[in-house]
């Protein structure tokens, strides 16, 4: 309400005949600029920097019950494959960058924390057949980050409340009450994202979109786009009747495979190169 009033005053001020920016005092200019920045921030739900802090906290929560695989060679390799597809995405740079890590978990799964930290489980590394399939899985997760699917899991009511606190007077440091309110909202936001990532999974349309993104990134990088279809088909066969891991959070269903087939790029990778990458995959994962 305060902001609406201020906005109305601003509008009136700017429409007054003869009112020029030169006539405004530095304080008035400062007030306009602060209000404008706040308005822009309100229109844009979250900045890349804020998304980064949400993502860090979600990652810290995942790591509170999962350890990382302590294998530098594997971590190096997964990061190289992940970065290869990430730099071919719409958003090759995020506030904190993309980082890939392997969770010591036998379930087949992968998680994209907002901002750029991507986890893949040991079970997933064992489930993919070669580098191109690994790239397909990581590209799918990069797609979720590009589409800000994690952040979109935060309930609208939390945004509304958070923006009320943030927008109250953007130029001042938070008072203890506002800081406490924001900390509470931050915690709630982490809960929302964590539940979606680890417990419920994304909606079907978000999975479709991430698959389409994966196909595009694979093709742009020079990987075999069919690797995504091959992987999903195998997982569907292997996981019949299973409800845990990837089947819970990224259901590999026949309609998802149909969506992948329908959006398959025409580009095919050179089979000799796929074989060569397959050999370096085997060396990196110890097969």
């Amino acid at each position: 309400m305060t902001r609406n009033l201020l906005c109305a005053c601003l509008a009136a001020l700017l429409f007054l005949p003869g009112c020029k920016i030169q006539d405004l005092t530095p304080e008035q200019i400062g007030m306009i600029s602060r209000s404008l920045t706040t308005t822009i921030k309100t229109a844009r739900p979250i900045s890349d920097e804020e998304e980064y802090y949400v993502g860090r906290a979600v990652a810290a929560r995942i790591l509170s019950t999962n350890h990382l695989v302590n294998n530098k060679k594997l971590t190096d390799y997964v990061n190289l494959v992940g970065q290869s597809v990430a730099i071919h995405s719409e958003k090759p740079f995020t506030y904190g960058g993309y980082h890939f890590a392997v969770l010591d978990d036998s379930q087949i799964n992968a998680f994209a924390c907002p901002g750029g930290i991507i986890f893949i489980t040991r079970g997933m590394v064992n489930a993919v057949k070669d580098e191109d399939e690994l790239a397909a899985v990581l590209a799918h997760e990069v797609g979720h980050i590009n589409h800000r699917d994690g952040i979109n899991a935060i309930s609208q009511s939390r945004w509304t409340e958070a923006l009320t606190v943030i927008g109250a007077d953007a130029a001042k440091t938070y008072g203890s009450q506002d800081a406490a309110k924001l900390a509470g909202l931050f915690e709630g936001s982490i809960d929302d994202v964590f539940k979606t990532l680890v417990v419920n999974g994304y909606g079907r349309s978000q999975e479709y979109d991430a698959d389409r993104a994966s196909l595009a990134y694979l093709a742009a990088t020079g990987y075999e786009p069919r690797a995504l279809k091959d992987f999903l088909e195998r997982i569907v066969k292997q996981s019949k009747g299973s409800e845990g891991g990837i089947m819970k959070t990224h259901p590999a269903t026949s309609d998802r495979i149909e969506n992948v087939i329908a959006n398959m790029p025409e580009q095919k990778a050179d089979p000799a190169l796929v074989q060569m990458r397959s050999r370096r995959f085997a060396a990196a994962v110890g097969r």
Binding site: L14, F15, S33, T39, D48, R61, L63, Y95, A170, R280
Partner: protein, 156 residues
């Protein structure tokens, strides 16, 4: 109502020549990035840029901008910057200068280190130390370029 207000105010500012967005400036929105000699990944770095640095845009070429920062010209990828700075007399930092304290304060509003510290304090069980180790892990441009080449993959 809020959206309508936001649109109204944005429209007013856009229509006012004195307050038009400075189309030739952009702010760095990632923690760290670089201005490169050519408009491509892996091109030699001319100067490092950091969050909130203000760059002058010289031209645009595909996904890359030609920019100038502190007298150095070169290329930066569009995803590392945001064209959302405004010319408002002396109220905002000018190109190449350090942003004012208010600007930094505004940029960090919302979920920021202060809020994270509070969250960490009430959740000591969360493993932020490993998160930092993950973030600390870096793939060098040279290693990535070699990996792409060795695998018969494309450089963007």
């Amino acid at each position: 109502m809020r959206t309508v207000t936001a649109i109204t105010i944005a429209a007013i500012f856009l229509l006012s020549p004195e307050l038009s967005p400075a189309a030739d400036t952009a702010r760095v929105v990632v923690r760290e990035n670089a201005i490169r000699e050519q408009c491509r990944f892996f091109a030699p770095v001319k100067v490092k840029i950091r969050y909130n640095d203000l760059l002058t845009i010289l031209s645009k070429s595909g996904d890359w901008y030609k920019v100038r920062f502190k007298g150095v010209s070169g290329c930066v990828h569009k995803s590392a910057i945001e064209e959302k700075s405004f010319k408002l007399g002396g109220g905002f930092a000018s190109q190449g200068q350090t942003p004012s304290r208010d600007e930094v304060s505004l940029a960090g509003k919302g979920f920021n280190p202060q809020v994270e510290a509070s969250y960490k304090g009430s959740h000591p069980e969360l493993d932020f130390r490993t998160v930092e180790a993950i973030e600390h892990f870096q793939v060098s441009s040279e290693a990535l370029s070699e990996f792409l080449k060795d695998g018969g993959l494309s450089e963007p």
